[in-house]
């Protein structure tokens, strides 16, 4: 088990957890309307740093994103005495788009852009860390994935401490993505309300530092256990009945008595679909009478930060015995039965559940408690998984289970040729960008090698990547800053979310296991093996599709993936 040693939040509401918490107690929010913002034609509401705040937080030689992460990590570290330079101290950066505001439509218009893995390494080296950092890029559930990854890697005894930093900045890039999805509210968001009209974007960095513990510690916040899974329903909409969320909750709670929960910290984005789905899932999981904590009405949706920030806030509020008011909520507008209030409530509960869902169909649930004497998880013995099948596909070669298959084409056309000649029809194939085509073709070639009795509906999909979605990212930037005006394409925008590739595999094959995407600064086999083995040891997965998938241009790509079992 792991316990919280220190937490921080840097947001427009303050630079420490305490400043943030006091602002929330006073009912403050930094949500503000933006009109004609950098050429965006539609009004939106967001919680963003003011210019003077950004200037105050800036660190010499670092971008805005990096500076914010450094401020948050430094403040959290100042309350602990852990040895950051130890190779057994892990740095996990939870972010959806990292330094993307520095990226140009073409390479020679890049500013201080670094890929997410290089960004994480730069931040880690600033603090003198010596271990290799991991970037968790799992859309909205990144912050929950990152904390669970920390728990698994520490329970498997690869590390003694983990610094988990969740962070995202907002720029024209993200605004255009969510305007193209029509999911931004023109007013302050109203979670679970009958008049909710969509989400607000938010900027924040939040860091939680974890250490290993026995589970006996009274009064200290511990991550008891958690679960990730996939709806296998749709890339950009949750399963209406919240199937994946219900399964994640029941797996995280197990026999934990519902009455011991002070609250459920929900995602509560204030979009029509998310809030309705969450209400259904909460009712189906038997949690209708457990009070909800929903914080998007204070902070907006802070993407990679959300899962970390909301965890930190809830712990602080519960230390005072409070459930914070659901700001923005007035009249119930969901069909699932939930316990929600826009006034502050009191509780003596010492445990809570954090739930979250995101693009790509992924869901997560974490159980936290500060009760004493919590029985530890089963011993996390890591075992070496066996390779069932493997596919190595590059821009000019194909190898299946060690057999070299001659190919005539190169680059993107090669993917189309393999799809036509070797795979079954999939109407979505032609809509995919090159990175998604690559991962789709490689994964379906793998599945084709498998005999029907080896099929596993709860298979995990855990992929590693280096370049994020740089090809789609540049294309997306061109649709908002090119000469043709502001017309972001929703299908291009969808492919700027790196974990969409894992969601496509889940949907194409009906996999309901966890789907995660991790970004590293380079292909690092020992670190990838650690994560795969810790994932097997710390989850119910018995088989996994995993490997390296990277695409740096339409003509340069590689997928080296396999099916593993234990």
């Amino acid at each position: 088990m792991i316990r919280v040693l220190s937490s921080n939040i840097v947001s427009p509401l303050g630079d420490t957890l305490e400043q943030n918490y006091q602002a929330l107690l006073a009912g403050h929010s930094a949500l503000a309307p933006y009109e004609n913002w950098h050429g965006a034609p539609e009004r939106f509401v967001a919680s963003m740093f003011r210019e003077e705040q950004t200037e105050k937080l800036a660190v010499d030689g670092f971008t805005r994103f990096e500076s914010l992460a450094i401020r948050s990590v430094a403040e959290a570290l100042s309350h602990t005495d852990i040895d950051v330079s130890s190779p057994r101290t892990l740095f996990i950066l939870s972010t959806t788009k990292a330094n993307v505001e520095e990226l140009g439509p073409v390479p020679d218009r890049d500013r201080a852009y670094l890929a997410p893995g290089d960004t994480a390494r730069k931040i880690a080296r600033h603090f003198g860390m010596t271990s290799e950092p991991v970037v968790v890029c799992n859309a909205c559930i990144s912050g929950v994935t990152a904390q669970l990854l920390a728990a698994r890697l520490m329970e498997s005894e690869y590390y003694d401490h983990a610094i988990v930093c969740g962070i995202d900045c907002q720029s024209l890039f993200e605004v255009a993505v969510f305007l193209s999805f029509k999911s931004l509210s023109p007013e302050e968001c109203r979670p679970f309300d009958i008049e909710r009209r969509g989400l607000n974007l938010g900027e924040a960095a939040s860091t939680i530092i974890y250490g290993r513990c026995a589970g006996t510690e009274d009064g200290q916040w511990k991550l008891v256990r958690g679960c990730l899974d996939n709806d296998s329903y749709h890339l950009s909409a949750p399963s209406p009945d919240g199937d994946g969320t219900v399964r994640a909750i029941s797996s995280a709670l197990q026999a934990w008595d519902r009455d011991r929960l002070a609250l459920v910290s929900v995602h509560g984005t204030a979009t029509m679909f998310n809030d309705q789905m969450e209400s259904r899932a909460i009712e189906r999981a038997g949690l209708s009478s457990v009070p909800l904590s929903a914080l998007k009405g204070y902070y907006g949706h802070t993407f990679g930060a959300a899962g970390v920030l909301e965890t930190a806030v809830v712990m602080r509020a519960l230390d005072d015995g409070y459930i914070l008011p659901v700001r923005g909520f007035d009249e119930i507008g969901v069909s699932g039965r939930i316990s929600i209030d826009n006034r502050r409530r009191e509780t003596s509960g010492r445990s809570f559940l954090k739930i979250i869902s995101g693009f790509g169909g992924c869901n997560g649930a974490l159980l936290f408690s500060k009760e004493a004497d919590i029985p530890g998880q089963r011993a996390a013995d890591t075992v070496k998984p066996s390779v069932m099948h493997s596919v190595h596909l590059t821009d000019s070669s194909l190898n299946i289970d060690g057999r070299e298959i001659p190919v005539a084409e190169r680059g993107k056309p090669l993917l189309t040729v393999i799809y036509r000649n070797m795979l079954e029809d999939c109407p979505r194939f032609y809509k995919m960008d090159v990175f998604n085509r690559l991962v789709y073709v490689a994964s379906q070639l793998l599945v084709k090698e498998e005999s029907p009795e080896d099929r596993d509906d709860y298979r995990a999909v855990v992929l590693f990547n280096g370049a994020s979605t740089v090809v789609a990212d540049r294309k997306h930037i061109a649709t908002v800053s090119g000469g043709e005006g502001f017309f972001p394409s929703p299908s291009v925008a969808l492919f700027t979310l790196p974990n969409i590739v894992t969601g496509e595999i889940a949907i194409s094959n009906g996999y309901k296991g966890e789907t995660s995407l991790y970004i590293l600064d380079r292909r690092n086999s020992p670190l990838m093996e650690q994560i795969v083995e810790a994932t097997f040891a710390g989850s119910e997965a018995r088989s996994m599709m995993t490997g390296w998938v990277d695409c740096t241009s339409e003509d340069t790509f590689e997928a080296d993936i396999r099916i593993l079992t234990i």
Binding site: S180, Y430, K431, M432, F487
Partner: protein
């Protein structure tokens, strides 16, 4: 109208990346979503972008487009009546 329908089909094919399909493969009256071309909710948002970008028509969300997006003919009719460019 004939010209508009052909242009519209080309714009949809390009925006939705329907590589293997030509304008002649799309029946003017066939349903675009579900059966037919098998388009989905993201494609509906993409057609909203086409209406905005090329014809100056602004739709707030996909549900507003539900009736309009039935077939190529219904979209073309709507464009004829509401275009501002």
């Amino acid at each position: 109208m004939e010209d508009l329908i052909l242009t519209l089909k080309k714009q949809i094919i390009e925006a939705l990346n329907l590589e293997e399909i030509g304008p002649e493969d799309i029946d003017n009256d066939a349903p675009l979503f579900g059966a037919g071309l098998g388009l989905d909710s993201i494609d509906a948002l993409e057609i909203i972008v086409i209406l905005d970008k090329y014809y100056g028509i602004k739709l707030a969300n996909a549900s507003e487009g539900r009736k309009i997006f039935k077939s190529i003919n219904t979209i073309a009719d709507y464009i004829e009546k509401h275009r501002t460019k």
